[in-house]
Symmetry: C2
Subunit: 219 residues, 2 copies
């Protein structure tokens, strides 16, 4: 009984996500679903990505938070379109929440939408929103055991960004284990090591994203 | 419709949690529900607490994880009873999962049960398990904006442990904001600043816990 309720919710969500996807395809908009634990550095990565790409692509951001507009306020300073989803207690964004933001954008004038999900390493990985790619962040202070303990997030993602590498000298983080365990769960996972604080490694992530957008436009 | 389903699940859970609570009262067992984001230091805090109190109290641990037994294996080395809950994808433990572990313990020979929840700053706060107190950890690298962004966890908890204070020199963490925002959400919140790595500040947490257990035994 409980299982069928959950299945119905996920099926209904997938249908809406497919409709979002069809619209994004028609408008040639590349869409990212960005996920991580709370405080791993999602908003800072979004800001760095905007700075790197805003002269090349027309970018918009959808911010998912339980309440309030702290992250959207940070993004708005970069002078790009941003809409806040307040989930009202829910621990993830879903296809319908994203759909409801779309009338706020001029979709004919966008190349890239970044969805910043609620900080949560579990549930967001279960809910499609119509994205081209799921991107997740593992921050160094969280520890290298996270792929083994929260596998779905790593299995579903196209990219794992290992953030806060500037803290490596001060914490016990087994980089080899993190890479091996995540790669074991998902052999196609692209792994980039970055410090959003110092900027180190961000060029590789930005390069991956640019290549994806270009390949998508050629389709 | 969706809301009533959620309400029914929470009501059913609360009934089971009350039954757990009645059993713990009868057996005079103090029970903690320990929650945080992934990688904030729950298991290490449990280990430090066991080391500090295992000569004074008879302690058991219930480990909640999506899969596998990494944390339970760490706890088992301390030679105390430990049972692993594998939630099978679910992002929190609930009253029924805890109830199902109880036949594995000799409840007549315990003073304290520590439940380590799944790493998640959202959903675990919604599910009672029959605990005397919810204790949550905010780790310094997560940032001081977390109380405002994930308020329920801070409202529901009796204690906020600010962990990884050894990293304060290397990250931007506004201690005053964290304390003020959390205290604004919950004026009764006890706040302890600790480094599980260096041991700094742990004595205050251990003292609070001992006092709670003694007061509970006198009831």
């Amino acid at each position: 009984m409980k299982i069928s309720v959950v299945k119905n919710i996920l099926d209904a969500n997938n249908r809406i996500a497919d409709e979002n996807r069809a619209l994004f395809d028609e408008k040639k908009i590349f869409v990212i679903n960005l996920m991580s634990s709370p405080g791993a550095g999602k908003t800072t990565l979004v800001e760095k990505t905007i700075e790197a790409l805003k002269n090349t692509y027309r970018i918009a951001v959808i911010e998912g938070d339980i309440q309030d507009t702290y992250d959207a306020d940070r993004i708005a300073k970069h002078n790009i379109p941003v809409v806040q989803i307040n989930t009202g207690g829910s621990c993830h964004i879903d296809g319908n929440m994203v759909r409801e933001t779309l009338p706020s954008f001029n979709l004919d004038e966008l190349d890239l939408i970044i969805n910043e999900n609620v900080g949560n390493l579990v549930c967001p990985a279960e809910f499609q929103i119509g994205e081209n790619a799921k991107v997740m962040i593992l921050s160094v202070p969280e520890g290298a055991d996270k792929p083994s303990k929260y596998p779905l997030m790593f299995q579903e993602s196209s990219v794992m960004i290992i953030n806060k590498t500037d803290l490596l000298p001060y914490v016990d983080f087994d980089m080899q284990k993190a890479e091996q365990d995540a790669g074991g769960l998902n052999p196609d996972l692209n792994i980039y090591k970055v410090s959003c604080k110092t900027g180190e490694g961000l060029d590789q992530w930005v390069s991956w994203l640019s290549n994806q957008i270009e390949a998508f436009k050629q389709q």
